[in-house]
Amino acid sequence: MRSQRTSLIAIFVILIFLLGVALINSNSLGDFGITLLSGLFQGMLLFLVAAGMSIVFGLMDVLNMAQGSYFMVGAYVAFDVQHTGGLIDLTNIIPDPNFRFVVAVLAAVLVGAAFGYVLERFLLRSLYSRPIFQLVLTFGVSLVALELVKFIWTTTPYSWTELFGVRESFFELFGQRFSTYRLFVVGMGIALIVAIGLLLQRSRIGIIIRAGVEDREMVQALGIHVRSVFTLVFTLGCAIAAFGGAVAAPFLGASTTLGSGFLLQAIAVVVLGGMGSYAGTAVGSVLVGLAIAVAQDTAIGTSFAALPSITPMLLLVLVLLVRPSGLFGNSR
């Protein structure tokens, strides 16, 4: 209980610090709101990548270094489906861009799930007796995913050009225009946090997963086929990451740097929150997202343009120095 209290105090202090810096940087309440919204947006995207990573690590002791690649692949698939040209051209079949976006996101999720299933079922499963090689393997898969994307879609980054309803609408508050789409993604992220939390807490499969995080062998001894639970969780984690890439694409576009960038940020989140802790991942992603948004604000107009990209790594280094088990992690 004591360590939980220090964690809460730490979260509180970091939040106050970040919000304070954001307030100092902003000229008006509207500016502050924009920083806050963009931080939450970043945080939700991070959560989508980190959630699968954290649960998979807790359950299977595998850190999936390819999780960022699923995000990237999701972004590319969604982009490809939405726009004319490319591999799949749906503009004639589904003329309505809003509906096409829904299809694009679904396609990304399906591709992510399929690749996740293949990775766990056919590659990782043969390596459970050699854990260090699982890490190496997922690292190799991330390279292959990157090269495949380069091969299929070339290295030129795409920026989202197709307009659709919610992406283009704005609402006004405190004299500032806010993008409805960002709010929409933040809302969806919060809904997902709650949904996955409920799944873990209330459902039968959630109980099995939580028990598996505590003691894998015991669960198996109770007659539950843990391996198929592994496959399910891994596939779900990859699908969620691909979903994150798809909903991020209208803002971030599709580029080859998405994978490694989001991988490192997600790792920062997972370590900050405590490896394998779901609540920690949710809190950690909001904190890291806010930190990145505040750093972006601070870096504008200064010569230190690298600050926003270094921030998650700096956070990671700091956390590892001070509290390596993370905010909600149990020290092992």
Partner: protein
């Protein structure tokens, strides 16, 4: 040892080491052999009062120097991953850091060029050692995965930092213009060739001595089962730190050579490819073996050189190998991890061991799992 006294292999040091000695002699004479075959001078072509690096012999020297650099990098990676069981995803960090230190020393300080070279090289290697110790000290008491993550994060941080830093000309990097003439690969490449060759051999001998020393035995014990090594009274943290420090410093040596060869310093030195390449080369060659990284690095480099201009014709679609080289490497990487975990040398050794059936000598189990 357990081998029989009348075994022909036991007769004399010269005979026992015939193959490495022959290889050594071949590599020493290599510039002259290629020169004689292709009728080109190993020193380059005289043009006015200076030498121009042109001709087959000089070109092949640089191909070999590139291979030597990769071999040193792979051997240093193997010391960490293969012999100590510690995995790093940021080996490029050490490679690039020493390169930048040397470059900054040569180009951005006013001291005499030769002095700057030695000070820069020494400083670069020492800094790599210190960096490795700091990273190790922070993460090594935790699970193995933390070290991998941490090296990846720090390498990425350095990469981003140096690709944005205006002083070192950001992403373009800067060229090395001041090098002592005796070392400059664009004036006297053969000198640099022999320096790199010496560096490879010294690294090989050093790692062999280290791994065969009592400390090396503890490294291997950590790889096999760290808890057991600890319960036998060894402070495993110190030994892991030692291994990481040497691996970082040796990777730094490779980085120095790379900077001198290309006469350019840029953020690509810190890029992920200098982490992936040694990892892949070590796995292909055979982790936890002495010759594995040498064969893996040399072999992959020569494949790269020979296949760079090749093409595949797939049902009318012509694909340049150069475009899909990284993809091919990645696929080989995955296949090697799953179906070929002992690498070329490891598989050979196991096959030999099985053929001779030494019951006292257990199979080299480099790929055993470690938490």
């Amino acid at each position: 040892m357990i081998q029989k006294q009348n075994s022909p292999i036991q007769r004399g040091w010269l005979r026992r080491n015939a193959l490495p000695l022959l290889l050594f002699a071949f590599l020493v004479l290599f510039p002259f052999i290629v020169g004689a075959i292709t009728d080109s001078s190993p020193y380059g072509v005289v043009r006015g009062d200076r030498m121009i690096m042109r001709g087959e012999s000089v070109r092949w020297q640089s191909v070999l120097i590139e291979a030597y650099i990769l071999i040193i990098l792979a051997m240093s990676y193997n010391l960490l991953f293969g012999f100590t069981g510690v995995i790093s995803f940021g080996h490029a960090l050490f490679f690039g850091t020493s390169g930048y230190v040397l470059g900054l020393m040569l180009e951005y300080t006013a001291i005499d060029t030769t002095l700057a070279l030695f000070v820069g090289a020494a400083l670069g290697i020492v800094l790599c050692g210190v960096l490795a110790l700091v990273i190790g000290f922070v993460t090594l008491r935790l699970k193995g995965v933390y070290f991998a993550i941490f090296t990846l994060a720090v390498a990425e941080m350095f990469y981003i930092f140096f690709s944005r830093w205006q002083l070192t000309r950001a992403e373009d990097g800067f060229a090395i213009t001041e090098l002592p003439a005796w070392l400059d690969p664009s004036q006297s490449r053969i000198n640099f060739y022999y320096l790199s060759l010496a560096a490879v051999i010294l690294t090989f001998v050093f790692i062999r001595r280290l791994v065969n020393s009592p400390s090396g035995a503890v490294f291997k014990a950590i790889r096999e089962n760290e808890d057991r090594a600890q319960s036998m009274g060894y402070n495993t943290l110190n030994y892991k730190l030692l291994s990481i420090m040497f691996a970082g410093m040796l990777a730094g040596v490779a980085g120095l050579l790379q900077v001198i060869l290309n006469k350019k310093v840029g953020p690509e030195l810190l890029g992920v490819s200098y982490t992936v390449d040694p990892l892949l080369m070590t796995i292909i060659g055979g982790i936890g073996t002495f010759t594995g990284p040498v064969i893996g690095a040399g072999g992959l480099h020569f494949l790269d050189v020979f296949l760079r201009d090749a093409q595949i014709n797939l049902g009318g679609v012509v694909i340049d190998i150069a475009n899909i080289w990284a993809l091919l490497l990645g696929v080989i990487f995955i296949l090697a991890v799953i179906v070929f975990p002992f690498g070329i040398v490891g598989t050979w050794q196991r096959w030999q061991a099985r053929r001779h059936r030494h019951p006292e000598k257990p199979l080299p189990d480099a790929a055993a799992g470690q938490d």
